[in-house]
Structures are given as C-alpha cells and as structure tokens.
C-alpha cells in the first residue's frame, strides 16, 4: 500500500527501501532465474524451510510463495510457538484460566487456540475466565500491580526472541515485589528442534531461511553449527518483502555453488554475537529443560522453564492443574510443523477447519502455516 515517507531520517529511508515494490519485482525476477537454474541442474526445485512463523506469514502475504510455487519449494517449519506446543500443555493453560480469583494475560495468538474443552476465548465468552490480551508481558505486570486482590498469570509461550522479554517481565515483577504475578513458562529453543528435523531426515531440505529475530538475540554465531556440523546453508533474513527476496537469492546462489555457509542478510539488526546481555537475563530466571513438542517425543533440553529458585513466579508450581490426555483429533498440525505435509494435504483444511472454527493451533495463530495458507493462498 502507498504511504508517504514521514521523515527525512536516513534509516527511515533505508527501511522504506526494504518495502519498495519496484525493487521487489526486480528481485523476484532474479530469484526466479536462479530457482529455474537449480531445477535445470538438479531436476527438481530447491527446497527451503523457513523456521520462523513470521517468515511463513510474510511469504504467504506478499505472494512470494505463490509467485514461485512452480520453481521453488518453500516449506514451513516449526516456527509458530503456539503450534508446536504439546496439546496437553495447551489444555492445561486453558484449564488454568477458570476461576474468579485470577486474570489470565496472554499474547493475542493464544486466545483462539482450541483446547480439548474449548478455547480461552470461549472461557471468556462464557464468563468462566477473565482473559486479557496484552501487547507486552510488562503490561501483565502492570495489571498485577493494579489488581492486588487477583492472581495475574501470563502465558509465556515463545522462542529465543521472546524469552528475554519474558525474563524482563519477571525482573520487573521481582523488583516491584509483586506476589500476585506469575508466568506459565513454555519457552522453545530453535536449535534442538532444527537438529531433530535434520537428524530424523524426514523432510528433504536444501537450506534454511533462518529466523532474523531469534538471531538478533543469539547472533550469527548461534547458527554456525548448521553449516559446520550438517553442511547445510542458512541465511539470516529480515521480514520485509525485499529482505526475504534477497535472502532467497542468496540461498539459491549458495546451494547452486554447493557451499555450506551461514550468511547474515540482516546485519543492521543481527550482530555476530547477538544480544548476550538479553540472553544472560533470560538465563538468570530460566534454564533449558526437556520438553514435549506437538506430536513429537520429548526433545532433551529443547525448552526453557523457571529455575527452581524462582518457583514463586512459576504458575505451574503455584496453580497446579491436571488435565487428562487430549482427545485425539484428525488434525495433522504435528506433520505440518515438521514440514512433512502442506496444510492443503490435511483433509480438514478449509472444510471442518477454518480460522473461524479451528481444529488445530496451526489454523489459529497468524504465524501458523494452516492459517497463512488459508488466508493467503486460497484463490
């Protein structure tokens, strides 16, 4: 859409350039050329996995995935933190919400995720739960301050990008001496799940579009293992149209050359070392734990949860809930997040399962692959 550049600021102009449609059309042409070359050479399209839900969303929204569908296979990976969360844990978070004595605070993405007994939105509509969507975990801390007679619980679901922000909220609550703030911590780590996918070898992936905002925290060095240990290429990418297109160009070039590199194509935000201070704060409160991923076994040290000494902020410890085994459904989210199937291959997609009436979390979160396909790829 057309907007006027609002400032003479040079960075503003540079950022504007990442959205320039004319440049995008040029880049797309170049990307297509390289992608066709790959098909020529290998007899099949290259297959890239994006491991970030925001990339999934952007590839679909900008029409890039659609524009390249005949020459490049873009596979969505486990990049939506809600989608990869084990169903039993989702059920527990929703069960936790019921009760007069508490306020559940959450990012918007969790609100409509279907639990075995309905979503948080449903609990809210029925008046069973006081659920509030916040933009920042710190807003939840503020709500706790303003409601001293209520327990305020934040549902802390996120990857490395979000984990330091969750830690910052705990830090704030600690500094304020709040006793009515706690967090259901469900931190997810990118490296273990990527290794799992590479190790099982279920999906053939030529290279990875690496999550630019996770890399903002971990740095380029946080992804070197991919090239060094697996010999697989990766490009750290931003999220605007031209950033993604140029990243695809770089990746195609790398795979054509057969190199194994980690290229930082988001250098104005991603440093070699990331943001070590932010991660240090995260490690003050949280530590790696074994975690069950949706329809995947427990992966060792693949999650982040409270250290024992911060149990008083740990909603799991303070408000234990027990939920039964989730009802099995025909939802194939588990395969979608591993890149084994495209959403369209799920028999429920667009029929029983729509964003208005989602069956699985992948149809809810705007980062979910099913939701992105439903919203942006149906014609």
């Amino acid at each position: 859409m057309e907007t006027q550049v609002h400032a003479e600021d040079r960075i503003a102009q540079a950022i504007e350039r990442t959205k320039d449609p004319a440049l995008a059309r040029e880049l797309l042409r170049e990307v297509r050329r390289l992608a066709e070359k790959f098909v020529e050479v290998h007899g099949r399209p290259a297959s890239f996995m994006e491991v970030c839900g925001s990339h999934t969303h952007a590839l679909a929204e900008f029409g890039i995935k659609y524009a390249l569908r005949d020459v490049l296979k873009l596979v969505s990976g486990p990049g939506c933190p809600v989608c990869v969360t084990d169903q039993q844990e989702i059920d527990a978070m929703i069960a936790l919400a019921d009760g007069e004595d508490r306020i559940i605070t959450t990012f918007g993405d969790m609100l409509r995720v279907p639990g075995s007994r309905g979503s948080l939105m449903k609990a809210k509509a029925e008046g069973r739960a006081d659920v509030r969507v916040v933009y920042s975990p710190s807003d939840a801390v503020e709500i706790a301050q303003k409601n001293p007679d209520k327990q305020v619980i934040f549902l802390g679901v996120g990857f490395e990008t979000t984990i330091p922000v969750l830690a910052a909220a705990v830090y704030e609550a600690e500094t304020l001496g709040l006793e009515n703030f706690s967090m259901w911590m469900s931190g997810k780590l990118v490296e273990p799940i990527m290794r799992y996918l590479l190790d099982t070898g279920e999906t053939r992936i030529d290279a990875f579009i690496l999550p630019g905002h996770v890399a903002t925290i971990l740095g380029r060095k946080g992804f070197l293992w991919l090239a060094e240990e697996y010999g697989v290429n990766g490009v750290i990418s931003g999220f605007e149209m031209n950033e993604i297109l140029s990243s695809l160009y770089i990746l195609l070039d790398l795979v054509l050359k057969g190199k194994a590199e980690i290229v930082n194509n988001y250098p104005y935000v991603v440093r070699e070392e990331g943001n070590p201070g932010a991660w240090k704060l995260a490690e003050k409160y949280f530590m790696p734990v074994d975690m069950a991923w949706r329809e995947i076994d427990v992966i060792p040290k693949s999650g982040m949860d409270f250290r024992p000494e911060y149990a008083h902020f740990d909603a799991k410890k303070r408000f234990p809930v027990t939920v039964g085994k989730p009802k099995p459904t025909a939802c194939r989210c588990g395969e979608v997040i591993r890149g084994l199937i495209e959403p369209e291959e799920c028999p429920l997609f667009g029929k029983a399962c729509t964003p208005a009436h989602p069956i699985g979390p992948c149809m809810v979160s705007s980062e979910g692959a099913c939701a992105a396909h439903y919203k942006y790829l149906r014609q």
Partner: protein, 82 residues
C-alpha cells in the same frame, strides 16, 4: 518467529523509552538495550527493544540490490551469474 518493528527513540528515562514507528508512538522497555540514546533506532518486540539498529549496516546493506551486488563482488555469489 515473533513480530519485530524498527522504531526511533524520541525520549527515554531509566527503564522506558518512547519510540516513533512511522508517526505512531509506543512506550517500550529498554532493559535489554540499556545504552540506547534518543535518536537511535531500535528493533522492538513485544514492548521491549531487542537491539539497536546499526546505522552503518542499515545504510550500506539495507538496500537488497546493493547487497547482492556486493556479495557477488565478494565472491559469495557467483559473479558470472548475471
């Protein structure tokens, strides 16, 4: 994963700052980027600045086409591939 937007610091105090994102303003926390200054650009996620934007890199390499040209020159991308 996770939405991030660039914004420019308009003012700051010890723990918080006001950023401008294309004319809309947002109050953010700066605990994770304690050294930001007014006039800096930062990447904001979930109400916190995650990183200060490097102006040099932004100006040099933000323009994708230029970047690709450079990569080509550096040999990262096949220079014959035009």
């Amino acid at each position: 994963m996770c939405v991030g937007v660039p914004g420019k610091i308009l003012e700051r105090d010890e723990y918080t700052a006001i950023v401008d994102v294309m004319g809309s303003r947002l109050k953010i926390g700066i605990l994770l980027t304690p050294d930001v200054e007014v006039g800096d650009w930062v990447l904001v996620h979930a109400g916190k600045a995650l990183q200060v934007i490097d102006e040099q890199f932004a100006l040099e390499s933000i323009e994708a086409w230029k970047l690709i040209n450079e990569l080509r020159e550096q040999g990262v991308i096949d220079p014959t591939d035009r």
